[in-house]
Each structure stands twice: as structure tokens, then as C-alpha cells.
Symmetry: C2
Subunit: 884 residues, 2 copies
């Protein structure tokens, strides 16, 4: 007996038994199939149907695109069962059974084949349908849709060719809507469609319903490996070997007249989280009309008036599903002549704002507990709440308003196509992609843009859905925006905006603003604050911020940072006149001359440090001694060099010589980090003095101050020893001079492989470690961040590496060194304080890794502190089984 490849919706228990868990069922039947089966089990009105498993898909793809043995037979058998249930027969002109064929992977994925409706229609069954319904126009409309979708999706004909024909015919009608097309027109249209298909593919449109079904199933399977599906999986870290299931469902018709409708609904508002049925529908339409934005759908509220009974039932089902799944659901439904059918339920995607509100509300409603709420919110989604918003007090020129499809504000240059967006985006330019509508093939450009503006489409249009998924702002359906692709410009209420002009979009209000609007910082209040409080209840690992100046430290503290994990002192040297003293120091020939120049920097650094300490009252502040190569501080342009020469009174040639002398082939691996302090101990001496004098200064003000002096780029304990001796000596001197005692620590960055390998020796001197995973990644991979652009994108695209290791910590390689360094360090010094201050400290997966390895804290940019805190809380709560 061959394997079971096909499950009827009612065979859900059998599937669960085979798969072992509900997550297993979702893997086997896909999210959509599992939802339909589950609703069927719950007695909800789901049309009869069945699912071909993801295993069948994988077998098909592995076996040269042959259906696995027994699959087709099982499909036919399942079809027989449906025929029994519905009393209709597949391919039978007298009472034809029509089906929809839909893909459905474990995780919902745009870019995969979506839906073929009305499959089973041909000349004969069409006639039967017309007779049966007494509605030839309906039958021809259904056929037109089927041929169009099948031609495009299954047979691969460019969809625009069909649209073009349809538009021409619609233009001939008075109303201009597709519902205005007559039966005769539809017949002509189908004829033209079939001609196009023959022309484009060389093949006739298949008349045999079984042939249609076979082709559709194969197309769904193959769509798993389509370019866009692969892109999506790459970006969203979905494994390639899951496969997709195929759902075959008895057709119900939302286009059977004005007592029929089709729509989508969320059980709560996916943008704001408001607890209220949210969605849109179209009367007398089929599913794809809603998403495609051909007619503008109506808000779901109106359904309550138009079809109150169906609406009531929908609301009831929505409540029931939410209680069942304990999460906000995304529903698809069709009303056929007044009767409601559920076609899908799945956990709904939502904005960060909505995720937070829904999680907090559901706790209040008693639906979930705090731990679940904390685990429910994707830390990355908080990013949306942490982005600057348009200053409400600013005067801005609003040139159009659309739907607030995905919140947040974005500014950028206008571009009109995805390729252009990608090109400029990769160059680091900020762009806003402006399209009449977006389509899955625009995905690469959307990934590179700051936000999207569309002239057509609703809250569930492609642009809106993708934007929310990416956490990017989107204004959709801004009807006043008239785009002229050829002239590469758009006009809106009389204002003409050309490609390259700046606009700002506000996805929270739907405003489209001319130019670059001023933005304000976000705040940690309301539900967000509540959720973060809960997170803090579960969190065990500390979260600090990387901040170089008091202003950043204040922001960080506002977001809940528990200290500073990295203050890069050199950033202070670039401000104002300080750079001159720095340059004088670099140009000095003797320790004395260097000391003289450094003496000018001492009071400035002291006051900077005092400022940081005040902001971080009660928390530790890690200050790193001078790190970058000295040539970074020297001027490059002739004029600047000559001006400097005059200012500090040295011959210009001397500056040129020093620049030449300091030139490095590989500055990343050059004369920097503690190598500077070892060679010029007077630099470390000055910095230690500034730190400790500032410590004394604020201590006298009553500030609780815990300075930690961090020596960078250590590769051997001997380097650290030399630097630590200086710091300890200066600390003693300052205590003696001022008579004030203070606590402090001396530690090191672990940012070179050798430091991690010899961490046991280094911990003999170091009182704390901070993993500098940026440089550790560069050296472990032998890959310069500045130069990797030439090959790293290809590496990520081709999955040679799962992620850009500068964004997501490479747990296998770099992480092995982090773990080894931590273990070795603690072997020597069990109370060693260990943290991370690379940019990975604010990336949720990396934060969870740090938790697993046992770090004491992570440190990240101020704006990512809440993200890190939430991720740390989730890590502490254990990996939750979450819907991606």
C-alpha cells in the first residue's frame, strides 16, 4: 500500500496521529489545510475538500516532477468522497463539481501560487452550470476567471495580456466595471484569452477537468521553488525543505449575485490591535477581486447592514476561533446566496503596535497569561514603535492622503520601479517606491525601499501586507496620486513630483507629504510600557546601551538601559576644536610633546565622562580607551592640511609625512586598539585620569558611579597587563590626590580570535569581558565589513551563509568563540562579568544566543534596548512555538 498523501478535511484526527502534534499537522497539511481541517472538526461551515500533503510536494520535487506513487489515485478517491458529499460530479455537465486549488505551506508565503478558482469548467460543464443556476452570465464570468487565472498561474502567461483585453472590454461598457460586462462580451473575452494562451504557450487550453487538476497541482508544487518564493524564504529565514501542501476545495460562489459576497477579515485590527472585526469585502465577486484591487472593497462594517445575518454569524465564528487559537485570526469567507462559508483561518500578521496591544489586551481579557504575551510579540516588530514619527507640530505640505496601511514615517527619494529601488537602495540611498499597485515581483525593490506609496489597493492589498510584514511604512490606495510611469513623475492635487524628489509618507495617518518632514522620537508608554514591564519580570540577563555622549545615554535610559556597555571615547575627539589637540598629539615626536597635547584633551574628556555618569546614576558605565587607527584623525584634503599646519604651527610637509607614515594596507588589522596605548602609554594615562577625575567629580554630587575601563583589541594578556597597570596606577593617584575612594573595574574587549582562545589567561587580569562581535566576526571570517559588499550579498542569496554575519551573529563559528571565551574566562575568574557590545547585542536571535551562553548582559544601540530586553525575556521563557 502506498503512503497516505491525501487527507480529507474530516481526517484531521488521522493527520494529527501521523504528525504527532498540531505543529506537525501544520507542517504536513500546511497552515491553510490545517486551519480548514480544524474548522471542519469544529463544525464550522467549511466547503468539503481535502489536502495533498507537503510530503507529496517534496517527493514530487525530488523525483523529477513526478507525482509520488499513489498520490493521483488518492486524489481521485478524495474527489469521489466530495462528489458524494456535495451530490455534484467533477466534469459532469449535468451537475458539475467545481473546485478551487490553493497552495498552503506551513508558513504563509507570498510569491507562491495562490489560488485557481472554478477549476473543472469547460465548454460542457459551463453549459451545465448555466442551466443549473439559471444564470449564464454567472457561468461565463466564472469561466472567464478560471481561464484567466489558470492561463496566468498554471500556464505561465503574462497576466497583463489578459488584463489588457479585459480593460478594453470594460471600457466599452457604460459602468466600466467588470460586473457591467455582458455574457456575450464574456464569451468574446474567453475566446481572446484562449487565443493568447495558444499564442504564448503553443498549447491549447485544457478541456479535460482531470488534466486541469493535474496541471494545477503540479503548478502549486513547482511554485515552491519559484524565484519570489525563494526570495521570501531567504529574507524570512524559512527553510527550503518544508514544501507546500495543495488544498482542493469545493467551490462556493461569491459572485452568484448581489446576495453573494467574498471577503477577508481579521478578528482584531492588524494595524492598531483594536478589538473589533476588521476587514473588507466585495459583493458579487470572487476572492481574487478583493486582493487584486480591481474594485475598491467595502469595509466589513457595511456587511452588517447589507447582510446582517451573515455578518452576525461571521462575528460569532471569529470570536470562537480567537478563543480556540488564543490569537488574532486572519479569515477568508464567501457568502453564496446568503450562506456563509469559511475558506481560511490563520494567525493574522500584524504591526508591532497591534502585536503589543493585542498581547496586552488578551492578558487583560484572561485569554493568555503574561508569559505568553511576552513570547507572542516578535522583538523585531517593536522596531516599528521605536522609529521616529513625523513631528505633529511640524508644518508639512500634505499633497495626498491614502490608507494608513502600515504605520511609521519614512522619507526618501521617489522611484517608480522595483529595480531602480533596489539599485539605489543598495547604494545606501533612501527611496520611497511609488506604484499604482505593487505585485509579488516587486518584492526585491520593496526590500530595498524605506516605504511604499500606492495609488490603488486597500488595507489588505499586496503593498499593505508586505509593508506590515517588513515593518515598513506604507500609504496605500492614495487615489489622488496620478502616476505617469513614462515621464517618471506623479501629480497629486496639482503638485508634480519627479523621480528623485523627496517625499515623506506617514503610514500611521495615510498622509503623503512633499519633501523631507521633521520627525520626533518615539516614547515608551501605554501598552508598550506594560509589555516591557512584563518582559522585565521574566528577564534575567541585563541590557545596556552603546552610547558615546550624554544625549544618547539619556535616550537609552528612557528605553530602560541598565548601564552603558560601550562608550567609544574617540567619538568625542571629533567634536569642535578637540580634533586639533588630537592631531597635535599625533604629530608630536616625543612623549612630552604628546603629553602636552593630551593635557588639552583631558578636561574635555573629563566633562564628557561626568555627563555620562550623571545620566547613568546607579548603573555601570564601560568606557573603552582609544581604539581607531590614528590616521583616521588626520585631515585628507590639501586645504585642510595646510590650515592645520598653520593652526598648530608645524610645516605642512610634516603632516604629509605623518599621513604617509601612518598609511596602512589593512587598517582593520593595523596600529589600533590597545596597540596604541601600549606604544604611547601617555594616551591611556590621560584617558584613565579623565575617567577617574570625572568619577570623583560626580561622586561628590552624590551620583552612584561605577566606571569600568575597557582595553580594546587585546590579543595577549601581556598587553592587557601593561594597560591595566597604568589604569590602576592612575586610579590610585587620583584617589590620593582627591582623598575620594571609588569602585572601578578594568577589563577588555574580546574581539580577536586569540583573545577568545586564551581567555583563561586574559581573565587573570581582566575583571570583565565584553565581546566585540563586530571585529570578532571580521577576524573569524577573515572578512572586512567594508569590503564584503562584493561577495557577501551573493553568499546570503545563495545560502552559502544563512545570514549576513554582521547582522545576525554567526552562532556556529563566531558564537563558538564567544562560548569558549566565556567558559575559559569564568574558569579563571568565576565572577567575571561577561557581555557583548557588538551590533548583534540588539538582534533578537543573537540576544537569545547570548542568553544561552550565559552572558551577564547585552549592550546595543539605545533604540534597540526594548528589542533586546524583550528578546532576553523570551530567551528566559524558553523558545516559544511561534507562528512566523
Amino acid at each position: 500500500m502506498s503512503k497516505k498523501w491525501v487527507y480529507l478535511f474530516e481526517e484531521v484526527e488521522e493527520a494529527e496521529k501521523y504528525a504527532g502534534s498540531w505543529d506537525g499537522v501544520r507542517g504536513l497539511l500546511g497552515g491553510k489545510g490545517a486551519g480548514l481541517a480544524d474548522m471542519t472538526r469544529a463544525g464550522l461551515p467549511v466547503p468539503p475538500g481535502f489536502t495533498i500533503t507537503t510530503e507529496a510536494c517534496n517527493a514530487f520535487l525530488a523525483n523529477n516532477q513526478q507525482f509520488p506513487e499513489g498520490m493521483w489515485e488518492q486524489t481521485l478517491e478524495a474527489l469521489r468522497k466530495i462528489e458524494e458529499k456535495t451530490g455534484k460530479k467533477f466534469g459532469d455537465p449535468s451537475n458539475p463539481l467545481l473546485v478551487s486549488v490553493r497552495s498552503g505551506a506551513k508558513f504563509s508565503m507570498p510569491g507562491m501560487m495562490d489560488t485557481v478558482l472554478n477549476l473543472g469548467l469547460n465548454k460542457e460543464t459551463l453549459e451545465g452550470l448555466a442551466k443549473l443556476t439559471g444564470n449564464p452570465r454567472f457561468a461565463w464570468d466564472a469561466y472567464r476567471r478560471f481561464v484567466q487565472l489558470f492561463g496566468k498561474i498554471v500556464m505561465g502567461v503574462d497576466g497583463e495580456k489578459f488584463e489588457h483585453v479585459l480593460d478594453e472590454w470594460k471600457a466599452k461598457t457604460e459602468g466600466g466595471q467588470d460586473t457591467d460586462l455582458t455574457t456575450e462580451m464574456l464569451q468574446e473575452i474567453v475566446k481572446e484569452f484562449k487565443r493568447i494562451i495558444k499564442e504564448e504557450t503553443g498549447k491549447d487550453f485544457p478541456e479535460d477537468p482531470y488534466e486541469q487538476l493535474k496541471m494545477a497541482i503540479a503548478a502549486v508544487f513547482n511554485s515552491w521553488n519559484g524565484r519570489r518564493a525563494r526570495d521570501y524564504r531567504r529574507i524570512n529565514k524559512i527553510p527550503d525543505d518544508l514544501g507546500t501542501a495543495v488544498n482542493i476545495v469545493t467551490m462556493v460562489f461569491g459572485n452568484m449575485g448581489w446576495d453573494s459576497a467574498t471577503g477577508v477579515a481579521f478578528t482584531r485590527n492588524p494595524s492598531t490591535g483594536e478589538k473589533k472585526l476588521y476587514g473588507e469585502y466585495l459583493a458579487n465577486a470572487q476572492g481574487e477581486d478583493v486582493v487584486a484591487g480591481i474594485r475598491t472593497p467595502k469595509p466589513i462594517d457595511e456587511l452588517a447592514k447589507e447582510m446582517p445575518e451573515a455578518y452576525r454569524e461571521l462575528q460569532e465564528i471569529a470570536d470562537r476561533l480567537e478563543r480556540h487559537y488564543k490569537d488574532m485570526q486572519d479569515l477568508e469567507f464567501t457568502i453564496e446566496r446568503g450562506k456563509l462559508y469559511m475558506l481560511q483561518t490563520r494567525t493574522g500578521k500584524r504591526t508591532g503596535l497591534a502585536a503589543v496591544k493585542i498581547a496586552v489586551d488578551m492578558v487583560k481579557e484572561g485569554l493568555i497569561d503574561k508569559a505568553t504575551a511576552v513570547q507572542r510579540v516578535d522583538p523585531n516588530a517593536l522596531d516599528q514603535l521605536l522609529h521616529p514619527m513625523i513631528d505633529p507640530n511640524a508644518e508639512v505640505q500634505v499633497i495626498a492622503t491614502g490608507l494608513p496601511a502600515s504605520p511609521g514615517a519614512a522619507t526618501g527619494k521617489v522611484v517608480f520601479d522595483a529595480d531602480e529601488a533596489e539599485e539605489l537602495g543598495n547604494k545606501g540611498e533612501k527611496v520611497i517606491l511609488v506604484r499604482v499597485e505593487t505585485a509579488p515581483e516587486d518584492f526585491h525593490g520593496m526590500a530595498a525601499a524605506q516605504g511604499f506609496l500606492t495609488a490603488r489597493g486597500g488595507m489588505t492589498s499586496h503593498a499593505a501586507v508586505v509593508a506590515r510584514g517588513m515593518g515598513k511604512p506604507c500609504v496605500a490606495g492614495a487615489g489622488d496620486v496620478l502616476i505617469d510611469y513614462e515621464k517618471r513623475q506623479f501629480s497629486a492635487n496639482g503638485v508634480v513630483v519627479r523621480e528623485g524628489d523627496y517625499i515623506t509618507i506617514d503610514g500611521s495617518t495615510g498622509r503623503v507629504i512633499l519633501g523631507q518632514a521633521p520627525v520626533v522620537e518615539p516614547e515608551l508608554t501605554g501598552d508598550f510600557a506594560t509589555l516591557m514591564e512584563w518582559a522585565d519580570e521574566f528577564r534575567t540577563m541585563g541590557v545596556r546601551a552603546n552610547a558615546d555622549i550624554p544625549r544618547d545615554a539619556r535616550v537609552a535610559r528612557g528605553f530602560g538601559a541598565e548601564g552603558i556597555g560601550l562608550c567609544r571615547t574617540e567619538h568625542m575627539f571629533f567634536e569642535g576644536d578637540r580634533i586639533d589637540a588630537m592631531r597635535e598629539m599625533i604629530l608630536a615626536d616625543t612623549p612630552e610633546a604628546r603629553r602636552k597635547a593630551l593635557a588639552k584633551l583631558l578636561p574635555l574628556q573629563r566633562s564628557d565622562f561626568a555627563g555620562l555618569f550623571r545620566e547613568m546614576d546607579g548603573y555601570p558605565v564601560i568606557i573603552r580607551t582609544l581604539d581607531p587607527p590614528l590616521h583616521e584623525f588626520l585631515p585628507r584634503e590639501k586645504e585642510e592640511i595646510e590650515a592645520l599646519a598653520k593652526k598648530i604651527g608645524v610645516p605642512a610637509q610634516k603632516i604629509y609625512d605623518r599621513i604617509e607614515q601612518l598609511h596602512e594596507f589593512n587598517p582593520m588589522l593595523g596600529f589600533r586598539g590597545c596597540r596604541l596605548g601600549v606604544t604611547y602609554p601617555e594616551i591611556t594615562e590621560m584617558q584613565a585620569r579623565a575617567i577617574f577625575e570625572a568619577t570623583v567629580e560626580v561622586k561628590k554630587e552624590g551620583i552612584n558611579v561605577f566606571p569600568e575601563v575597557m582595553i580594546p583589541l587585546v590579543s595577549d594578556v601581556n598587553e592587557l597587563n601593561l594597560q591595566a597597570e597604568i589604569v590602576h596606577r592612575v586610579a590610585k593617584e587620583v584617589m590620593e590626590e582627591t582623598g575620594v575612594e571609588f569602585e572601578y573595574k578594568v577589563g577588555t574587549m574580546i574581539e580577536l580570535p586569540r583573545a577568545a582562545l586564551l581567555a583563561d589567561e586574559i581573565a587573570q587580569t581582566a575583571e570583565f569581558f565584553s565581546f566585540g562581535t563586530n571585529d570578532l566576526t571580521q577576524t573569524t571570517f577573515g572578512m572586512s565589513r567594508d569590503d564584503a559588499g562584493r561577495f557577501l550579498p551573493l553568499y546570503v542569496e545563495r545560502k552559502i551563509l544563512p545570514d549576513d554575519p554582521f547582522q545576525v551573529l554567526d552562532q556556529k563559528g563566531v558564537g563558538k568563540l564567544v562560548q569558549m571565551g566565556t567558559e575559559l574566562g569564568r574558569k579563571t575568574r568565576p565572577d567575571l562579568e561577561v557581555g557583548i557590545c557588538g551590533e548583534h547585542g540588539g538582534e533578537p536571535e543573537s540576544v537569545k544566543f547570548c542568553y544561552k551562553v550565559g552572558l551577564d548582559y547585552v549592550s546595543c544601540s539605545p533604540y534597540r534596548v526594548p528589542i533586546a530586553k524583550l528578546a532576553a525575556a523570551q530567551a528566559a521563557l524558553g523558545e516559544a512555538e511561534r507562528d512566523k
Copy 2:
């Protein structure tokens, strides 16, 4: 009871019991003390004496320069014993005991306090000595020497001040020798010496013999931390915590008349190894006269005529000591009125040539076995035998001195650019390439030159590295060489050398010599060949060579290489017209255009590989695919760029653009290694084809060929997989096309920390590993070899690092990765072939580490093959306890 700090020479058994071994005795009593004690035990004529231990020295230095408790009392007690033995009394005017005070560490060390003779003399004992010997002049001569040495060494007065006085007085005599000074003169001299001492130190010369002794002992202890002693220990890797012993020995007098003498002797010739007493002596003199070169000493042969009895006894003792220590000894002796006294025996230092001959001879004599002979020779010393040397007897005019960057001597005409060097070189002329610095584009000229002289750059500059790789002499960083490219000449210390003039460079010493100095060529023959044969009997680890061209491969094989461990294919691309095809490839915009350019390189590479295979008949040849960043292949100068543009028919702007595009901030961490092959698979494809077509070609000639294709800079197994797939596919294609089957392997360099950390995964694909320890050192330390010059010398000088890690493998850090990589790799693939191809492969300590870790082979430059083989043999024999 206090610790035993003092051992009489006859207490050697007690010392041995305490120290546990003879090596322990040498540690406790120092080499000199141990030798004296051992000779005393053997009944040889050693004057009575005792040794204060190194433990006393360390206690003294640790305890604020206070003698440890009981030490002085034990010293006095030992002195009493000597008094008993000699019948003399310390400080007794009637029969004064005089002693010498000498330092003596475990390893002989210049720079430490050497000897104070005649200690115990003062006005009273002097008179006694004069009376006793009936020789007032002798007594005053002894006193003059004592005051002079004590003043200089113990009291720290500039020795020249004494010499000056002495010279003035000698000038007043007829003979002009110190032996011509009269008693009265000596009295005047001593008076002046004491005045100088008072003037310089503010202190009177101590009259109390016990005070003299105390001061001398303290001075010896302190000399352990003298600047020169510390420098010597740093350079010779002698630990700082050994301390020095102090030997106090009854004076015997070589200056008691013409029947007295003092001298040094080696039991065999330390330059040539000849088995014949070798040394020199002075009659009527004290020890320091011989070393100081005040009078010219006579060859030891003459002693046979002058004092035949003493000579015979000395020869007998020499033979006995050699038989006892089974090694060549370095002796000091004094003859007092015809009676021979032995004052020192220690293992003698020797040249590489002598080391080899003595080891081989002693085996033939039955004194040692082959294993001992192999262990006896320092592998580094062989370097001297492997390069042409300037005839040591020739008179040469040294015009400048630089760094000895690559050993050996070369003579040739001066040329100032690479093209010129190539042109003349191809005509068979011998040229020396003289450049401010060299760059990769000079490679063709370097290949054609006999050696290189650069004005700038260190031991790891491009010129130095290439030179060592090629086994050619190089003097680098000769700052006095001022090059004027325009006038085509250089000047050095006032000498102007024009293009075409002959110079000779000595890369072993750094000398730049005007004209053609006579040079002697190296050969692997005679004793050297014998020793290498013995080494091969014990050696278990393989030794291959790094060689890029057939000529180098031939040299390597001549020196005993067992295959090629690294062929850098890119070196082949710089020759002649090849660079144009390479550049065309780099400038190509499409895979097709690249393939076209690569097709031109294919036959050239194939013939290169065939040449290598022929030279290495029967041995494996590892060929690395393209490694360096592409910009290294592009021209830099305007003229060159424009010439290239014309030649290959592209606009010059395009070349400029590509150069700009390929610019990297950190080329070391950039677009290179397998990243090239992953991005442009057609390059790997071409190289694989060239390798396998060459394999088939030579196989048809009957050559035993084992190509191993090595993928560089792998950080993840996925990269290797992509490259290995190409290589396997091409291998299959070539086999099918030619009908010839062949063996081959695909493996990888392990040169990034991540590769070592994930070696278990990488070994799933790699059939062999080769540790590229040059790059692995750079990335593990985060230290660019090209840029480390600014801080690394300081690091080595201050012992922050024990060695330059680019010269001696950093076993603790980089070595940990080598070990980890080897173990992980073999866990996956137990028969994994593992080797090393960094420059460390020819450095003896590193070779021994490789043995310890279990590598299958090391690979090094052809000229270091014998060194690596000897080191590998020694590793297999186990660390020998050798005198440093």
C-alpha cells in the same frame, strides 16, 4: 637552619641530590659552577673554590638586594674550607688567599659580569704577596688588574678611563707592552686608578677584602638584570627567572712569569669541526688579557713547543672531558709556574658547518649514536650551509648595511626596475634589483634577479617575503641607500653606484658590498648529506616544499622535498604576456568574456603544471586555486594603464573604473581566495581543467602524478562544496574526454579561524587540510603582516609576545586553532591528510609543534627543506636536552 646557598666544588654529589638531575645542578650552580664541580669530582686540576647558587641570586633580587639569610655566613665558612685546603688566609698579609669571582648562569651569557681576578688584595696583602713570591712586580701587576677590573665591573667606572692611563704609561716604555711596565710604573698607575675611582664614584676603593667580596657578589647578582644581559636573554629566548650563580675560586696566576700562561681552548675547531685542539693563549698574562686583545695571543699549537708538558696534560684532559660530556668542550686554563689548572669546561658553541662535522665524526668515533647526532645539530644552523656565502677570507668594501632579510650572498649588476631586470636576466646577465620597496608587479623582475636590495621595508616586507620564498638573498631596509630612479643611480655613505655597476649583497649579515665579492656555493654533500640521511631514518613526518615553478621544484627535490605542499598559481600569471590575459579576464563584464580570456591562460597553466608534475614524479603536488585580490593584477601607472587599454582594446576609463571598483579598505579581508571562485566559477573551472589536462599529459609520459587541488580562504563548508563540485565535474569531464583515469584530491587551506573552528564540517568535503598559518596568524591576532612594523618590534622587544608570530608559530593561540582544526577534521575523516604550508613550515620550533599535533607533513620554501627535515627528525626523537 637556613637554606644551603653555598656549595664547595667537592659537594657536587650533595648538589645533585638536591637538584635531582645534572640539568638541575646546572640550573642551581650555573654552567660554570657545575663544570668546575664536575671536573673536581673527576680529579682534574681545578683550584679549590665554591659556588653561591642561582637561588641565592633570585632571593637577593627579590628581596631588595639583600643577601638571603645565612648566605654570607655560608660563604665565610666555605672560604675557611678553602683556606684550610690551600694553607692561605683571606686578608692575611703573611700568606694571602686571593680569589676570582665569576658569574655563571645555566646558559652562558655575554653581557653579564664576567670576572674579577685577584680579589683579596690590598696594601697589606699586596706586600705579603710580593714577599711570598719574591716578585714585587707580579704583586703590583696583580693589584693593578684587580683595581682596574673591580673599579670597572663592580664599581661601574667607565673602563676607558683606566685604559687611557694604562696606554699613556705603556707609551713611556720601550717595548710598549704591558709586560714592559715596571713596578714603579704600576704603583703610579694604581694610584691614578684609585683617584679616578674616587672622582667618578665619590667612594674610596675598598681595602677590606671581605667588603670587596661582598661588593663583588652583589655586583654579579645585579648583572643578571643588566641591560645587555636582558637583551641577550630576549634574543636567545632564555627565561628571565633563572638567575646567575657566583663562583669563588682560588686564584692561580698565569702572570707569574714566562713559565706561566693563560688561555682558552676548544676540543675541536668550532668553525670547521676539525678534530684538533683549537685555541689561543698568552704567556705571563691573566685571563682577561686573552679576551681583551691587549696582546695578540698565540695559537694553541705553539704551547706544545713552549710548554710541552702542560700542553700534553691539556690535550689529555680535553680528550677526557670530551669522552665524559660526549660533546665538544670550550675550556679555560691557566698555567702557574708550569702547573696546569682548569678553570672552566662547557659545551662549545660552533658554526653550522662545525656542528654537522662534529656530530658525524663523533658517531664515527663511537662517542655518540646517530640519534644523538641528529639531535645535537640546531636546525637553524643549517641555514648557513644552504646559501652561497661570501668567502670569509676575502677583503670586501661594505658601503651600507640593512636587515639580513633573506640569507645568502649574490653578486650582480645594479638595475632599478623589474622590466630591466627581466630583460637582462633573460639574456643571462646576473643582476641585483635595487628598489626603494618592491611590489607584486615587480615579481617578474625579481624572478630574473639574483637578489634584491631595498631602501625601505622590514623583515616581512614584500621583498623579504618573496626573497625567502624564492631562496634568493635580500638585504632590506638599508636606510643609507639613497636611490635616484631618474639618474639611475644610488648613493650610500658617499659612494655613488650607477646602473650596471656590480654590487654584492649578503643577506645573511645585511652587508651591501661594492663590486663582485668572491662567493662559495652550498651543496648537500659529505657530512651534511650523511646527517640528513640519519635524520630521515628517524623522521616520521613528511616534508614538502612550497614551489610555484618547475625550477623551484627541482631545487626542492634536490634538498629532499617529498612533494609540493603549496603551488601558488597566481605567481604564474605575472609572467610575460600572461598578465594581459589575466587583466582581460578581470575587465570582462560577462561570464562569456571571462571564459574567453581564461581560455588564453589555460594552455599556459597546463604546461606549468605539467612541468611541476614532472619534477615531482612519484610525489603529491598541491595546487592552490587563485587567491589574491584581483586588483593586484591591474596596472597602477597611467602609462601602463593606457598601454593596456590599447593592447586589449578597451577604453582606459574602463580600466580606471575597474581599479576604483576593486579598491579595498582591507584587501587582506576582502574579495579574494575562494570568494573569487565562488563569484566567478569559470576561473576555478579553467584552473581545474589545466591541472587535470596536465595530469593526463604527464601520465601518458609515465610520470606518477598525484594532483591535489586546494581551495583557499574557506570559511564555511558551503563555499568549499561549490568549488569542489566544479573540480570534481571537470575531473570527470577530462577523464571522459581523454579516456585516462587518474587519482586526485580536493582539499582546502585552513587559514581562517572559522575554518579551524568548523573543521569537522569542512572535512565532510575536504580530503585534505593545509594550514595556511601566515593568514591564520594575521586573522587570529587581528594583525596585518604589512602593517605590524609599527608596533610588533616593540612587542617582541618588551616580551609582550615571546616571538614575532610571523616567524615562529604562536603555539598558544594560533597553534590552538591548528590543533583544534586537526582534531575536528580527523573526527569526521580519520584518514584526513593534514599539513601546514605557512612560512612556519620551515621554522624548527614550529615544525616540532606540527609533529606534536600530529600533522602528516610540513611544507616550506625549498631552501629550508633540510632544516624542516632535521627538526622533524628531532621532534620524532623527542626533545633533546641540549645546551643552548
